[in-house]
Symmetry: D2
Subunit: 298 residues, 4 copies
């Protein structure tokens, strides 16, 4: 797997492509933004004039795009017509499950023996730059070893979730649960404070009890409590509220389409939408505590 | 601390009092129910004819009662008038924070040098019988060592949460968070299933990711997934929905009284109330998955 | 407007087409179901072998289909290629706003001078059969008079909501509000009952106070209270929970796409989804009281 | 009914007492605030030095106080010991149902033949000043005529809701429904706007359809739409968010105590608590639209 086509060089994709270069691979890169393309070129990528141009001769095509419609469009018009037969197509975008499955079936229908995977990431720009992302992969089990190899320079861990679409499903189910747990954790700290129970003491107790969850023990939303987190730096950096909102909306859409009942997930979407409406969409998602207890975010 | 008065010998209190006996202490016991009193007597307690009688000559008085009004009533009419000056009064009931603080101030106002603690438990009847409960304690720091000694025969761990009322505050904040996390976990599994992602695979991924929480990793609501839990035995035993509902209502009441904002906590209360209304209040609280995905509870 | 093409002859469409016949118009009808087509033929429609066949020579084409994808497909493959230039195209389906606007722009792009309207209905099968539906119309103001003429035999009232898509927008905003109000009304009656306030007395007071709403005064969810409603006939007939759920999901989808914040609307969707999951999706939507106060629905 | 004792002369009580004076009655008034008492004196009331002093010789005692504990305290310490046997005691405060019933039973237990009523009001300070309040009354049916006479100078309409406590029950059930409907109405307008449907047109359609409710047709939360309302004057005046929040908390407390399931009512409480937390508690409760669509409140 020497030659990689990389389409989509934004905040995440740029760092990911650079890590492919560092691993000694040839990276044929494309983005609609000239600036993103120039930056990738500086990092050692070969700048291509179009997605169709980029995929020529590549062993694997990696895409990192904003939404399902972009993925489907570039698959239909550029990748499927121009990529060589048998190419491995790995979409790392976070998109809806239906579009992920449609991309896979379009690829199959092309009759060129393409192998496909949906492989959304967990981790932010720091992990993208550092090559320490986690990938949740939906693909045919026989293709998983090759997907792992393709993702290796960008990855801390790569997990096979199931068949086509299962990577996206795993990501949105996990992130819906994360959104719910984070709000629950913020509510518990806000209530503790009003009841005169200190945050430090509540953390000490609950992190060892049945309320324990990742949002509390690895990403505590209260300044000065638990390991370092965005709450310690005024909610800058981290995982933006608007990104969490995007994931919660993908989860809600998937729930409504599949007939799943997700009252708390829907409630989390509404609360993050309110936070974003108040102008805090760019802050870390743990700043939801601001809706509950005004004055935390300075 | 050789002589303990124990008032309230129900499902929890009975086992707790028995463990005091096993530790070699004299236990002066009382309960309004003759049957509970007889059972305590069989376990080696000295059955007393009233709460006022039970507290005579005791070094410490332990209460385990249903609600704040019962605690306040027995403090006012029996314990405070009849207990010896300087007695340690430990209330292990789960009650509202305001009543816990009122009990403490009534004791102080009695002018007999009483020392008080609120010490609600975490753990069910099995832990009560086995002497492995966790206690969250609100008391004056100088009294904590004595409280620990008093609770020792019944306890796996005893944590000092803060001053008077802090034990109750810690418990309801923790259990509110537990209720929210459990529902979120059930929703995530229900959505995963509808999206064709297996529960085993989702558990494997999310338990190592940002969705991790105690409800998933120590008490998984899906049969056959994770360590043994009530889901593996048709949601029998465990922590009943009606008990979770009681705690969520204490949390909601505390939030409204103190001006805390707890949208998810309130939502959890409503969902557990619906589950109880459907006749499932006696099942383990992880059976909330039944509201979301009918047919899970057989 | 003598010749009407009618595509989609289901529970609603069948009765609507029959009313066009009764008004003396020629109705060229098509449905994928032979049975529906035969029934329309019995009612005096001219059964056509395809949608493309039906639209030939029609002055107006009326569609009544389940979802946006069906409307877009029949527009693209049958109506736009085969209908005469200048034909009036009225879609009476309840579909998402985006699809409604896309249908209009496809029609415009066809370059044949088509005039289009989205005109979803309010009212059930009884109103469809009786010709007493309410239509909310999105169309160019200059076309509204013709749309009104086309709909006249099926209509009690026809309102112009705005440009293309505004009919669908009006319907989902109204029905989202209806879903919320209905649940709120059920909660108020359930609480009144538990507090010992009779339903009759609460109706008398609140219907004249600030709690008044259509769900209470025209469609009361309590048996024997207010004017006759589905609650008086065991929640049979009326507007099914699954239809309300469809509308609430269209509203939620529109909210997420447009960035609107609708916490109560989302909550209503979750509650109706739970009710449907419990097997009551076919009952009238006022049976949501069953989730709140078990035993109301027999 | 010539002599009235009036206890509690705040924003509401002051205007109410003045209307008793205007009706030619002798009003013996008391308030803890000297300023309120002086103002009542200016309006023609006889200022008394204590509640106990005020009730002497009165035919009826009217109370207008903040919460249940105040009512119970003044009943226990002042009114019941000092009022003449057979006096009519009418509490116009908005308090919890349990306290209302407790006040009635304390009065009965006094053994002096007191007749009691809970009679909370609907309407704000303007209605208090204008004598156009609505009263919802819980009392023995045989006492209702006298209650009506006592309230007459302050009342537009007086309705008998049932026995003791039923007045409070009617008020909180109605106001819970009002809070829910108002938020639903705001959401519908916010969604309509994002979908390009004008507020005027949506009002015109929905006010004649199944979404109709009092919040929309008599108190529209959008500036310039419907009859004049607080939205037309920057949400000043009207019914403050913090007052609505108080009522929603009384409703939630009553629901939890009585075992009623009120998911939407609980959600409304959480949303109003968030609005208050953002510093808008003094604005009219229709300003909840600000949480949904920032920038509406200037």
């Amino acid at each position: 797997m020497q030659s990689i086509a990389f389409i989509g060089l934004g905040n995440m994709g740029g760092g990911m492509a650079a890590n492919q270069v560092k691993a000694g691979r040839t990276v044929r890169a494309f983005d609609l933004s000239d600036r993103a393309l120039a930056k990738a070129s500086d990092a050692g990528c070969m700048a291509c004039s179009s997605a169709a141009e980029a995929v020529k001769g590549a062993d694997a095509v990696i895409t990192m795009l904003p939404a399902g419609k972009h993925v489907l469009s570039v698959y239909e018009h550029d990748i499927l017509p121009m990529a060589a037969a048998g190419t491995l197509l790995v979409d790392c975008s976070t998109i809806d499950v239906d579009s992920a499955r449609k991309a896979a079936s379009l690829a199959q229908a092309a009759g060129k023996g393409f192998r496909t995977a949906d492989a959304p990431v967990s981790g932010g720009t720091a992990a993208a730059d550092g090559g320490t992302l986690a990938f949740m992969v939906g693909c045919d089990p026989t293709d998983f070893a090759d997907v792992e190899t393709a993702l290796d320079p960008m990855s801390r861990v790569t997990i096979h979730a199931g068949d086509s679409g299962a990577g996206q499903a795993a990501k949105i189910c996990n992130n819906m649960l994360l959104g719910i747990s984070m709000i629950g954790t913020c509510e518990a700290f806000a209530l503790a404070e009003r009841l005169g129970l200190s945050a430090e003491r509540f953390f000490e107790i609950s992190s060892q009890s049945s309320g324990q969850n990742w949002s509390m023990t690895s990403y505590c939303p209260v300044e000065g409590v638990g390991p370092a987190s965005p709450a310690d730096r005024n909610f800058e950096g981290g995982f933006a509220t608007d990104m969490m909102l995007k994931d919660l909306r993908l989860a809600k859409e998937a729930a409504m389409t599949s007939g799943a009942v997700t009252p708390m997930g829907g409630h989390a979407e509404a609360l993050y939408a309110m936070l974003s409406e108040q102008g805090l969409g760019h802050k870390d998602f743990s700043s939801i505590i601001e809706l509950l207890s005004k004055g935390t975010v300075k």
